[in-house]
Amino acid sequence: MHGSPSPADSRLLFQYLRPERRPLSALLALLVVAMVLPLAGPLLIGAFVDAALDGESASQLAALGGLFLLTTLTGDALQLVVTWFSVRLAWRVGNRLRLDLCRHALGLDLDWHGDHSAGQLIERIDGDIDAVTRFASTAVLQLAGNTILVAGVLVISAVIDWRASLLIAITVGIAVVVLIRMRRIAVPYYDEEREVQSHLYGDLEERLGGLEDIRANGAGPWAVHKLHEHSAGWWRTARRAAARGDGGLTLAGGVFAAGSVGVLALSAWQCRQGELSVGSVLALLRFSQMVSDPLWRVAEQLAEAQKAIAGTRRAARLLAEESALPDGTRDDLPDGPPAIAFDGVSFGYGTGTDVLRDVSFSLPAGTSVGVVGRTGSGKTTIGRLVARLWDTEAGTVSVGGVDVRELTLRALRSRIGIVTQEVEVFRATVRDNLTVFGTLDADDDAVTGALDTVGLGDWFGSLEHGLDQHLEGDTELSAGEGQLLAFARLLLADPGVVILDEASSRLDPDTETRLIAATDRLLAGRTAIIIAHRLSTLDRVDQILVLDHGRLVEHGQRAVLAEDPESRFHHLLATSRAAQEVGR
């Protein structure tokens, strides 16, 4: 899966970091100081020991001790300052990138969104970027800082004794090779563990979501069995991965330990030869112990780097996605309800089978049409093409006499209101739900008025916090109430074109009748497309379209078709009336 990063990916990161060049270089300078300061520690301890052996005064020894204390505290304080600045930087860059990704994803077409769940987008817009920004701010600095520290140790210890320095360098070299090798070996095992875990949690999430299905159908033991299987899988893979991944760390730890004992042996021998002071022995030992910490940190950050590269690549890929619906340029739709026309429209959802075939009709401004036909005949698609949620494969759809592809999506859609069978309720306040986060410019009175009109007045009255009440998505509203909420949205939007697609299918007949009465006012003087199973919903439309397998098989004035005993619509009406009478 992991290829090498393409130049485009790193360019993306640089592009976002470029405006931050100054803070970044200031940070790096601070970091160098913060990292070099601790190097004085071992030297001062060595000096302290040597001074004591030389019989220096207590005050001189105390001064050396005090200097040691000062450098280490200053180094720590500087580290904090570095963190403060790098965290700020990370969030600036990260949020800028998140916002761009969000903007871009919002602009992509519904086909693309059909393939990418909201959960995936949370990962792409937020999760991935976390790794990227952490890398860009913290990890880069850590990598740089710790490299400086290791280099500093090697240089200074070389000044004391080149052989010890060489030994430290060799130790570091071996440890690095061990770490890299073992990581390479461990990666597939970690992937395996993650895979098992994602199955475990995915499975659990589904079972918990379908808990009632499971309980009432006596499938509990099966769900528990599956959990046991996944858990045992996790146990196996976790231990396997730990043996490789953490095994590498322990091996490297052993190498460092052996290396520092080696340095001690070497310098102790030289001390016996009179070539090194005792203080230098202690200093070299401390230096040899100082290199392991930065190396762990670098190893940690390399894992971050891998995540960041993957995240950047995914971000770059997301930004490179193009919407299948290029935005138009015209936003000069005349005021008032527009006319709608289909001219030779054919369309399929990219599956090879046409959902609409050569459909043509025109709907004069301010009139309404009812669309009927069996499930899968293409009714819903008509509404979607008007709002340009998809583009036609052949033919044109025009609104207000303009091809919808020439209009900006914003100009087009702000004139259209749709209520469908599947109502989406946001986990947000009632107000945000009705105004779609402030898109609709409506004051509180208008919002409550709309709720009253659709018959949600009692429901609204029962809310503790009124318009500020937070809705927990679909859970608080029944399916029918959700549809009523969508109608209230429609009332507020006050659009020139209204599309009702099985908009009342989840309502009982009584509520539906009341709602229709309320929306009659809304439909008056607007261009409307109404799609319905229940023909009673279509009593007041001007025209009727009958669709069959994507073809327009009948089109005419409702009154005319209803009277014509030869028409399909007449036939449908008769069947439905018969069913109604039996039912009552």
Binding site: L204, E205, L208, S231, D246, R584
Partner: protein, 573 residues
């Protein structure tokens, strides 16, 4: 931001520990060894340095070899410790998970109200809260190992130089104190950051989950504006949290060097007098680091314990009576060898059922349900006899679905009695299950497994062909890429609403229940297909099936033996 409910995570963790003390105990022994080995190593180092520049004690080579043994041996101990620990880590997660899932799927009484609203949040109980508890068990290992090391190290230091010991211990105590004062603030910052992050991710999820609504409403600019605002709130919260965390870490890391520096200043007189040797300095450098891990570990311990308190309460809420003890009790986990093979459920043949298995009549009297302070059902009576088709109808929000779910024990009832063949049903949740009853919900959930598995869910496959036939699913199967092996559910091929409903119908029917409970089969099916299903179920040659269904469709009402009409939670007909 109200303070979340808490339960003792120590008790919770202790009960898991007791469930398998060996797993934890082995980890502890290895961890203590790893933590404390630097202490003897420090003594050896002291001996070595005291032999410099020239000495007449033990030979230097021997001492160096011993030192090598301690230093390298420490890492050799770590290897098995880590592998073993990972097994223990999984075990600590698994105990509460298995307890909770078992209880949710099979304990008496309604289970749905024990779960949080969204399934994503529910799974976070099993993932994040279980992890928080595992972290408590883990930090105990660190705490005990660091505690032993610190105490032993300080004793040795005292024996060598009380002044140096005091100097090294003083910053540790100081940092422990500061850490304690800082802890509350850190928790607030962390809490604020979590809330802000949840706000951002939740908003992305919502906006893109309802992308069609967003697009149709041309709400993209409003969404971006809100997203930017949530993002900047979160950046502020995250900044405080991350800098605070770094501050705590830095404080924890300061102790070793600060203690050593302080010691150097204070022992200067003793050193110049020659009371302390070079070896002692070497020992101080080693011990200052070895004993300094305590503040860091203590800080982690208090953080994890407190996080764990919230998690223990949350895990407890998954259990009946919200009792965390039930989530932490011993339970078989089968981690090493996997669970024993699943024994499929073989149903009894309907015709041979007798006694309590066989339905003669089901009677409900005065059923009441109160949810969120509103009466959903206000005393409903109904009676169903063997072989009857009873349909419940009524306007939106009249309580139809609630009636079915309360009858099945899926939501808690506040009043009323259910009789099965004139015997009172005390706990419908465990009684009205196959083979007595099976349920087809209004919005059925399928699971990401093969079509056969998601229908059977552990049931004997013998009845599968008949059930698929009854649910009118056979034709659809030919269009699926792998027939019965096609993966369906959220991660599988996308089924239409009607196909999902029919699959769920097959799932209920394969259980050959005495009574089938159906919630609005029509919402995703066209009239013709729905009729076919009912026709199949009530074919003259079919076994006598008892059905309790919610529907609006005239054709269904027409077929019913009895129609129950609800309005505002009461029966009007």
């Amino acid at each position: 931001m109200s303070a979340p409910e808490t339960q003792s995570s120590a008790r919770f963790a202790w009960r898991i520990l007791k469930a398998d003390p060996w797993t934890w105990g082995i980890s502890l022994v290895m961890w203590v060894t790893f933590f404390s080995l630097p202490l003897p190593a420090g003594l050896v180092l002291r001996a070595i340095l005291d032999q410099l520049p020239d000495g007449d004690g033990a030979p230097l080579g021997v001492l160096l070899a011993i030192l090598l043994g301690f230093e390298v041996g420490r890492w050799i101990v770590l290897f098995p410790a880590i592998v073993q620990w990972h097994g223990a880590w999984v075990f600590w997660h698994t105990v509460p998970r298995v307890n909770a899932l078992r209880s949710l799927v099979s304990d008496p009484g309604p289970a749905t109200d024990r779960l949080p609203g969204s399934s994503g949040e529910a799974v976070s109980r099993f993932r994040d809260d279980a992890r928080d508890i595992a972290q408590v068990l883990d930090v105990w290992l660190d705490l005990i190992a660091a505690g032993i090391t610190t105490v032993a190290g300080v004793i040795v230091l005292f024996l060598i130089s009380p002044v140096a010991a005091t100097a090294i211990v003083a910053p540790i105590l100081l940092v422990l104190g500061i850490g304690h004062l800082l802890a509350a603030r850190l928790r607030e910052w962390r809490w604020a950051e979590r809330e802000a992050t949840a706000g951002v991710t939740g908003f992305i999820g919502d906006a893109f989950g309802a992308i069609a609504t967003v697009k149709v409403a041309a709400a993209e600019p409003a969404i971006l504006d809100r997203f930017a605002r949530l993002g900047s709130t979160r950046a502020d919260a995250a900044r405080s949290d991350q800098v605070g965390t770094q501050l705590a870490q830095t404080l924890g890391g300061i102790t070793a060097n600060a203690g050593l520096g302080l010691a150097l200043v204070l022992i200067a007189p003793a050193m110049s007098r020659g009371d302390l040797s070079t070896g002692d300095i070497g020992l101080f450098t080693t011990y200052a680091t070895a004993v300094a891990s305590l503040p860091r570990v203590t800080a982690r311990w208090s953080t994890f314990q407190r996080q764990g308190d919230v998690s223990a309460a949350r895990l407890g809420r998954l259990m009946p009576d919200h009792d965390p003890d039930q989530a932490s009790g011993a339970v078989p986990t089968f981690l090493r060898d996997g669970p024993p093979p699943f024994t499929t459920v073989t149903p009894s043949v309907p015709a041979t059922r007798a006694g309590v298995e066989r339905l003669t009549s089901l009677r409900v009297e005065g059923l009441r349900v109160r949810l969120d302070d509103t009466d959903q059902l206000d005393g409903v009576d109904l009676e169903v006899h063997r072989g009857q088709f009873v349909v419940i109808t009524g306007p939106v929000g009249s309580g139809k679905s609630v009636l079915l779910r309360a009858l099945l024990g899926l939501v808690p009832r506040t009043g009323g009695t259910v009789w099965w063949n004139d015997a009172e049903v005390v706990d419908p949740a465990t009684f009205l299950v196959p083979p007595r009853a099976a349920y087809l919900p209004q919005v059925p959930r399928l699971f990401s497994e093969s079509l056969a598995d998601t229908v059977l869910l552990g049931h004997d496959p013998a009845g599968l062909p008949a059930a698929l036939e009854q649910a009118r699913l056979v034709e659809d199967l030919t269009d699926m890429p792998h027939g019965l092996d096609t993966t369906v559910g959220p991660k599988g091929v996308r089924l239409s609403g009607g196909q999902i409903q029919r699959t769920a119908a097959a799932r209920a029917l394969v259980r050959t229940p005495e009574m089938l409970v159906v919630d609005d089969l029509s919402s995703a099916l066209d009239v013709a297909t729905e009729s076919e299903i009912w026709d199949g179920l009530f074919a003259p040659d079919a076994a006598a099936l008892t059905v309790l269904a919610v529907s609006h469709r005239p054709r269904v009402l027409e077929r019913a033996d009895q129609v129950i009409e609800l309005r505002d939670g009461r029966r009007t007909a």
